[in-house]
Amino acid sequence: MPMLLAIELAYWQETAIKVAVMAVLVPTTALILGIVFLFKMMSWMQSRMGPQEAGPRGLLQLLADGVKFLQKEDIIPDAADRFVFKAAPIVVLVSTFLTYVVVPAGPDLVIENLPTGIFFAMAVSSLSVIGVLMAGWASSNKYALMGGLRAAGQLIAYELPLVLAVTGVVIQVGSLSMQDIVWAQATGEIFGWGGIGLPLILTQILAFFVFMAAVQAELAQPPFDMPIAETEVVGGYHIEYTGFRFLFFFLGEFATAFAFAAIAATLFLGGWYVPGIPPDSVWANVVGPIALFVKIMFVSFLIFWFRFTYPRFREDQLQTFAWKYLIPLSLVNITVTGIVVVAF
């Protein structure tokens, strides 16, 4: 960022700017996903037109809902473990915020270009399990407890295929840095033709499939939404939450969806790279975020399309699916990738 602006900033100034950007970015992305997919696309898929009243064509509905949540009474159950109960949504939100840190939106537009970026993203995204478990336990509600335990089991089970799917990409690129992965795709060639670079989805299609399935489960979206299944455990771990604490969970859910879509777009679809614009030009910094956004919207469309079409699995079927299908599949993918990388 300092390079782009051509101004030298002190470390604390830089950090302040980064924090401000994050504080704006995360809720905005959650809002965008919520409005575009949860409200509009779902309505269209169900022959409805969605919210119409708040703002032009109802586009501000989610803002209005947010304000409504803020006005609600903050209820904490008598028997709840108050400290843990209050802390849980914050833990979830922190994990979401941290995931955004390493996703690059341009050659220089990245909050922190960690050399182990993808490893960091996977690690902090699994922090949310702790928040969910805390919420489930502290609510002192049987449904919440069941939901929390289900969530914990599910998130841990799907952490593995997620990481294994990423491993395939990492082996092929040879780096853990998200920037390096984008550069590898931008400068790659398909049998000597470099017109569109080499989006890794072409070689890692298996990993892409496993990654998307695992992301769906990580986000607790149908068909893997048992932790919050309202017909079984009535909202699961957020059954006792109201007002802004519920809003935190809501924000966390959608912002995490956006973050995972961003990671998927970066790993498999070339991230900020646009064919035709050289990745080292200044223009890449301008067009990059837009390109990334378009790709993210495409991936989120897939995520939400599945969400609105499928019924949900049962808890044990979900574990079976993870351990018997996804993990072997991703192991096969790693083996093949490894052999190919070593052989050529």
């Binding site: 898929m45 022959s47 409805r48 119409q52 399309w305 079409t309």
Partner: protein, 172 residues
């Protein structure tokens, strides 16, 4: 050809519905209510209108109503004779005719049993109130509903019934 998995076909159904909803020829099935209103059918039982001239205060409707939510008060009086030179007729004059819509079940029995065609169904449905007591419509209010009563529909082929006539609305 291998069978397309059901999960893929399901995705097709939702996608097609989305496209249909967005197409100008398709459109959503819902209407944004306060701005656009759906027309109820002519027979829809929305609110009961009273044509006071026809009512003889015979009390049949209030007796047959399953939850007794019609209140009628009347007194006997003399009306001018029908033909010139005749005797004045003794009639019942309505003092009060009220239907409590907070109790009414919209069953239609009162309209059906009225022997003098004084009650009619109107499809009007927008008469909700903030206070429940305001749902008690007195005879002036019930009379005003007569403006919204549609003509009876003609019957389907093969029917022997004849559509009735709705009396003209006369504002008092």
């Amino acid at each position: 050809m291998p069978k397309v998995p059901g999960m893929v076909k399901g995705l097709g159904v939702t996608f097609k519905t989305m496209v249909d909803t967005l197409k100008p020829s398709g459109g959503p099935v819902t209407v944004p209510y306060p701005h656009v209103k759906e027309e109820p059918t002519a027979r829809a039982r929305g609110v009961i209108a009273l044509h006071e001239d026809n009512c003889t205060a015979c009390m049949l409707c209030s007796r047959e109503c399953p939850d007794w939510c019609i209140y009628i008060e009347a007194h006997k009086t003399l009306a001018p004779p029908r033909r010139a030179g005749g005797k004045p007729r003794q009639v019942n004059a309505l003092d009060r005719f009220a239907i409590d819509y907070s109790l009414c079940m919209y069953c239609g029995i009162c309209v059906e049993v009225c022997p003098f065609d004084a009650l009619f169904w109107s499809p009007e449905y927008e008469f909700s109130e903030v206070r429940i007591a305001d749902l008690l419509h007195e005879k002036e209010r019930l009379g005003e509903w007569m403006q919204t009563v549609p003509e009876f529909e003609p019957y389907e082929a093969g029917s022997e019934a004849k559509p009735k006539k709705v009396p003209a609305y006369d504002p008092r």
